[in-house]
């Protein structure tokens, strides 16, 4: 692999210059520099919060540091791994690797059939030179040497007074395999993000989720993803169980029991989904990613007729599942909204207000603040279902309900009943058509690495000449890896041994 690097661009125009650029780009050194650059470029992403991982943290950053945040955003520092400059580096790396490795693979392929090089004139100038005399004939010596070297899997070239031997072709093979697999891995990553998708959906216990684009709460797709690629399964959430440690409150086990129908018309099957056991539908998988509670409420108007009933998913705010949410009742005049907090195991202090001290519902409570006015649902601007914009609303009362309790909202507006609650799970639907390639690439990278690090490459030459009726033997070698000294020593001793036996006869 050439690491030389012409620093001066030639004074050529057009094609010549392009060729020069191509040569620079595809040199081994450029590939290495680009790889290092990629590593350095990935650092800011571990320092600043990333939208793809933690959008809330990014908002927080904007809150505390608006001016700086704007500048950071200008340089994509909240989206490092999809930023133009990051992509530029890895696309260049990709091109550089291809330009470097593919021609070399071809060269290597051709040289597989080539013979070891001719014996150099002055063996004594090479590594591990040895000289001794023997009473065997030159031909016999060469024959023994050939046998011994072949047994060690050297390739042999026979010449009149000498032989050349070479081994370690595999080292370069490993090296090339490593680099080619790197390309495969990058292809897998690219293919996966272009042809893939990722969607989230919250499903309460008892509900059924049908896998079509309109059921998702959020959906991200790659540029080449076709909506028709979504497999038509349905999942009915039968029961979700979460177990927690009584001392540390840490989760111990999440388990989701569900009924799955792979395709309309197929029979349903019972499945259990766990954190390390996603559901698989071809290259689409469904993961159990998070869980929380949906309080079940009934809202009645002045006349006492029901205007809203059902489970409403709330968002957990901490490890003990203190959850916040919004109950919106648009079908009333004026409209009614509740800013709400669900506390599975309720506790209250003056400083913190209401919060939960344990993630299981041991002492559930629903805190409500009722607001009256215009919810802004008709403005056409999409709203979060977990939040209420209280700007155009007026607060009309506060209450805290245990399950079964009903609150008559002040002003005779109506009433709300806290009927109970049910757990919800967040299912993440992920399709990654490239991951098989990435996996094969990664395993081949490892194989290539092992071969190229531990394979040994040696060249050895043996020359014989006649002197005073005896035979003078010269051995020497060239290497790029350790162990040549032992190879030559043992070869020499094999040759000397055969001499001795001959002499004793």
């Amino acid at each position: 692999m050439s690491i030389s690097f012409d620093t001066q661009p030639p004074q050529l125009s057009g094609i010549g210059f392009l060729r020069w650029i191509w040569r620079q780009l595809t040199s081994m050194r450029t590939a290495l520099v680009l790889l290092l650059l990629l590593a350095v470029a990935s650092i800011p992403g571990s320092v600043f919060p990333q939208r793809s991982q933690n959008p809330l943290k990014v908002n927080e950053y904007y809150g505390t540091n608006p001016a700086l945040a704007q500048w950071l955003d200008r340089f994509s520092l909240f989206n490092v791994y999809s930023s133009p400059w990051f992509s530029a580096i890895y696309i260049l790396l990709f091109i550089s690797l291809i330009g470097c490795v593919v021609p070399r693979t071809w060269e290597h392929f051709k040289s597989a059939r080539a013979l070891p090089p001719l014996t150099p004139k002055n063996l004594e100038r090479l590594e591990e030179f040895q000289e001794f005399s023997s009473n065997q004939s030159p031909e016999e010596i060469l024959q023994v040497a050939e046998g011994a070297l072949r047994a060690r899997r050297y390739r042999i070239r026979n010449l009149s007074d000498s032989l050349g031997a070479e081994k370690g072709f595999i080292r370069e093979t490993g090296n090339l395999l490593f680099h080619l697999s790197l390309i495969l891995l990058l292809l897998g990553v690219a293919f996966g993000s272009l042809g893939g998708m990722r969607a989230d959906v919250i499903v309460s216990e008892g509900e059924t989720f049908t896998n079509v684009a309109t059921s998702y709460d959020s959906l991200n797709t790659g540029g080449l993803f076709a909506i028709d690629d979504i497999p038509p399964f349905t999942i009915t959430v039968k029961k979700f169980t979460a177990k927690y440690d009584l001392v540390t409150n840490a989760p111990q086990d999440y388990q989701l029991q569900a009924l799955v129908v792979d395709e309309p018309g197929k029979p349903a099957r019972e499945v259990t989904v766990k954190v390390n056991k996603p559901l698989t539908f071809g290259d689409t998988r469904v993961y159990l990613q998070a869980n929380g509670y949906s309080p079940i409420v009934t809202v009645r108007n002045q006349a006492g007729s029901v205007v809203l009933r059902g489970p409403i998913p709330f968002l957990p705010q901490d490890g003990n599942l203190t959850s916040t949410g919004a109950i919106k009742v648009p079908d009333m005049e004026p409209q009614l909204g509740f800013v709400a907090k669900f506390l599975p195991t309720a506790e209250r202090t003056a400083a913190r207000g209401g919060f939960s001290t344990y993630p299981e519902a041991l002492k559930p409570l629903l805190d409500l603040a009722a607001w009256s006015g215009d919810l802004g649902l008709d403005s056409g601007i999409p709203q979060s279902v977990y939040r209420i914009d209280t700007e155009k609303l007026r607060q009309i009362g506060l209450a805290s309900l245990a399950p079964g309790q009903t609150w008559d909202i002040p002003g005779g507006v109506g009433s709300i009943t806290f009927d109970g609650f049910t757990p919800w799970v967040n299912l993440q639907v992920v399709r990654d058509p490239g991951k098989g390639f990435s996996l094969v690439g990664a395993i081949a990278i490892l194989l290539g690495l092992l071969v190229s690090l531990f394979g040994r490459r040696h060249r050895i030459w043996v020359r014989v000449s006649q002197k005073d009726g005896g035979t003078i033997v010269h051995i020497a070698g060239l290497t790029r890896s350790p162990g040549l000294d032992e190879e030559i020593k043992s070869l020499a001793s094999v040759l000397q041994m055969s001499t001795k036996v001959e002499g004793e006869r």
Binding site: I3, L36, S42, S52, K57, P251, V430, I443, L453
Partner: protein, 296 residues
């Protein structure tokens, strides 16, 4: 024995191993101080050799006690003892010492003992005071056979990377000393290996575990695909594991293709090693992301 009995036993054993380790450190230090004072006189060589052997024996004893301590921790939780940063640290110290003991069978590295015992003490001390968490079952994401595979590979690679960094550090110090004295070493340092040997040794260790490190990352990615829904997401831990990987890959390339040796190579080795430490200390304790199993 009940689970909490095992947990208490484990804590006692960790403390005991630290005591023995401290003793070994003192004996190594005594031997070093002695040789700095009296130099390389013939009469003392044999006696110093004996002291060194005592120190080595104490190191082996420390290793065995620590081994049982880690085992007991695992028994107390009914799983591989690798679920949080405390457990990762004690197992890491074990792997690091093991790498040293194995290396000392083949190479002349007993002189490294003082560094090894010192770093182990530091690791264990930090672990039991700052990082300690009670023995507890695993959180759901860690319940997977990959815990054993991924974390074992990461721990062993980490231990060997650090050993190689110790040697590269020793190389830089000795080289500086030699330079000040026109290529001569002070008497006490004369029995230490030649600079070329140190250089080679730190390279060989890296070349040996680099594939294992690669494997640790691949295993992590396979696991992440099952646990987190994607095999690579530029989580801070993943990002820094990648940076360490590139760092050592550059080191290997620099040595093999560009023929780097000696001081430059040693510095590169230290830089790559420090990215590993950064990942371990900073990302575990202050970082955010999915990979926060330190339990702090």
């Amino acid at each position: 024995m009940s689970k909490s009995d095992w947990a208490y036993l484990s804590n006692d054993l960790i403390y005991a191993s630290m005591a023995v380790c401290a003793l070994a450190f003192l004996v190594f230090a005594y031997e070093l101080a002695w040789s700095i004072r009296v130099g390389e006189e013939k009469t003392t060589i044999n006696r110093r050799e004996k002291v060194l052997r005592v120190a080595q024996a104490l190191t082996i004893l420390y290793f065995l006690i620590l081994f049982i301590g880690v085992l007991a921790r695992g028994l107390s939780a009914g799983r591989a003892p690798w679920g949080n940063m405390y457990e990762f640290s004690i197992t890491g110290a074990l792997a690091f010492t093991f790498a040293y003991l194995v290396a000392s069978l083949k190479f002349e590295v007993q002189w490294l003992g003082i560094l090894i015992t010192f770093s182990s003490l530091l690791t264990l001390g930090t672990a039991i005071t700052l990082l300690y968490v009670p023995s507890a079952p695993l959180v759901p994401a860690l319940k997977s056979p990959w815990l054993v595979i991924h974390v074992a590979a990461a721990i062993i690679s980490g231990g060997v990377f650090l050993l190689s960094n110790c040697i590269a550090g020793a190389y830089l110090v000795l080289e500086q000393i030699e330079k000040k004295r026109d290529g001569q070493r002070p008497l006490w340092a004369q029995r230490l290996p030649k600079l070329e040997t140190l250089d080679q040794l730190s390279y060989r260790l890296v070349a040996l575990v680099f594939p294992l490190w690669t494997f640790a990352i691949i295993a992590g990615a396979i696991w992440a695909e099952a646990a987190w829904g994607r095999y690579w997401g530029w989580d801070p831990k993943e990002t820094w594991a990648f940076i360490t990987w590139v760092g050592y890959a550059a080191y290997l390339h620099a040595r093999v293709t560009a023929g780097w040796k000696g001081r430059r190579a040693a510095w590169l080795c230290l830089i790559a090693g420090s990215t590993f430490l950064f990942n371990y200390i900073y990302v575990n304790i202050w970082g955010t992301g999915k990979h926060t199993y330190s339990g702090l």
